[in-house]
Every structure is written in C-alpha cells, then in structure tokens.
C-alpha cells in the first residue's frame, strides 16, 4: 500500500521544518524575496482560501442530472 500525498498531486511544495527553531526564524523573517512564509498549522483558513483559488475547474465535469440518471440506471 502506497500513500500518495495530495500536496504533490496538486503540485504545491511544502517545507517540513524538523527544527522548531526554523519556525521562529521564518516568523521573524515573515517574507523571503517577497514570498510570505505561511504555516499550514496556524493559518488553516488562509491556506484553504489560497487552495480554493487553485481548485480544478469543476464545470468541465459531468452535469449532476447525468450522474443521477446513470446512478439510477446502475442500481436497476
């Protein structure tokens, strides 16, 4: 069984800080080259909002009525 990480699927790189001192440093710096440091743990709402902007376009999917019809057919 292999675990697939969704962050990789979506292409979002995440840094794993294994020294807590790193977090203090990032908080102190706030930005690096105009890129803001964001902690996934403490900025959940902000991250969720950012990710929503990158969500796949759902309008290309099958319309709900088609899926419902298909499911009803499959049940029979």
């Amino acid at each position: 069984m292999t675990l697939i990480n969704y962050s990789l699927i979506l292409g979002f790189p995440v840094l794993y800080l294994t020294l807590h001192f790193d977090e203090l440093v990032f908080r102190g710096l706030d930005k690096y080259k105009n890129y803001q440091f964001v902690n996934l743990e403490t900025n959940y709402d902000e991250v969720a909002k950012d990710l929503k902007a990158f969500e796949h376009d759902k309008t290309n999917g099958l319309p709900e009525e088609d899926i419902t019809t298909f499911c009803l057919w499959a049940k029979v």
Partner: protein
C-alpha cells in the same frame, strides 16, 4: 571548515586575531565577525590598520565596520562555494553547524539572502534536502507564499492532518 559540533555553542568564543603586517594588533577580535559566525577560527592580516591604533579608535573605526562586512561576506561565500563543490561533505558539516546559520538568519538581516543559500530544508516533493531557491523553483505558477509545516521528523510531517487541507480528504490509499 570545522567538522565537529561544539557542544557549548552558546559559550563558543570567536578566535579571530587581527594582524597588521604580521604584527598582532588584537587577539580575539570579536568585532570582526558577527556572533553567529563564532565557529570561525583564524587570523586576519590587514595592512590598512595602523599598528598604534587606540582602543577607542578601534571600536569606532569605519575601517573595522567595513572589514567586518567584508569578512562576513567572504565566510558566507566560502561556505557557499564548499556547498557547490562538495555537496555531500557540506551536508555533513551542515548537520552539525546549521544552528549557527539559522541564528544568523534571525540576527543578521543584512545577510539573509547569503545565509539562506546555505540553509537546507526537507521538502514534500523530494527526499533530498532542498534550498529555499529550490522551493521557489518548484512553486506552482501564481503561488506567492512559502508553505511550511513543523514536525519532529519528516515521517510525522507527511502524516500530518494539516496536509489534508490540500484536498479536503488528505492522503489516499493506492491499494
């Protein structure tokens, strides 16, 4: 480059002696490098410093300020060159001395860019340690933030529930 970690990193003393034309001007010249580079040992021979410099003049001298800035840049550049020349050797050194560099990130805003080139982090997209530049290169188009997660180990970070926010359901099983 020193190869062993100093256990008493906080008390470590900068052993940098300042010479002028091979004559000792000041031993343990703490002013020559910032505190976080206290693992550096050696001598600096500067012909521009007068031999009879007074202590007062020494402390206020713009020459010392310039020398300090120059030496800091040189040391950081040397480390960067070592990292490029011998990445495996550098990583071994880095494991012992990273705390000094990170102290530099927190205390020396003037050289943040130079120090950041020397630091390494775990990244979600690769098993190797990466630089901040590697992160920026792997960012998604339009992404303007650097996302990070704190954990004791890489394994714990990968299993963190906070990564679930990337899709809402988190990790999936590929049976």
């Amino acid at each position: 480059m020193p190869s062993l970690i100093r256990l008493n990193a906080k008390q470590e003393e900068l052993l940098l002696n300042l010479y002028s034309r091979k004559v000792l001007v000041k031993a343990k010249a703490r002013e020559l490098l910032p505190e976080y580079l206290r693992f550096v040992k050696g001598v600096v021979d500067c012909e521009d410093i007068p031999l009879n410099i007074s202590r007062e003049h020494y402390q206020d001298s713009s020459l010392i300020v310039r020398l300090r800035s120059l030496l800091t840049k040189r040391v950081l550049r040397l480390l960067d060159e070592e990292a490029r020349k011998d990445p495996a050797g550098y990583l071994k050194w880095y494991n012992d001395f990273q705390i000094f560099l990170k102290e530099g990130l927190a205390s020396d805003p003037e050289h943040v860019d130079d120090i950041m080139k020397l630091t390494r982090y775990e990244g979600s997209w690769t098993k190797d340690l990466v630089t901040m530049e590697d992160y920026i290169k792997s960012m998604k188009p339009g992404q303007n933030k650097i996302y990070y997660l704190t954990a004791f180990t890489r394994g714990m970070a990968e299993k963190s529930p906070y990564l679930e926010c990337f899709e809402g359901t988190g990790n999936i099983d590929e049976a």
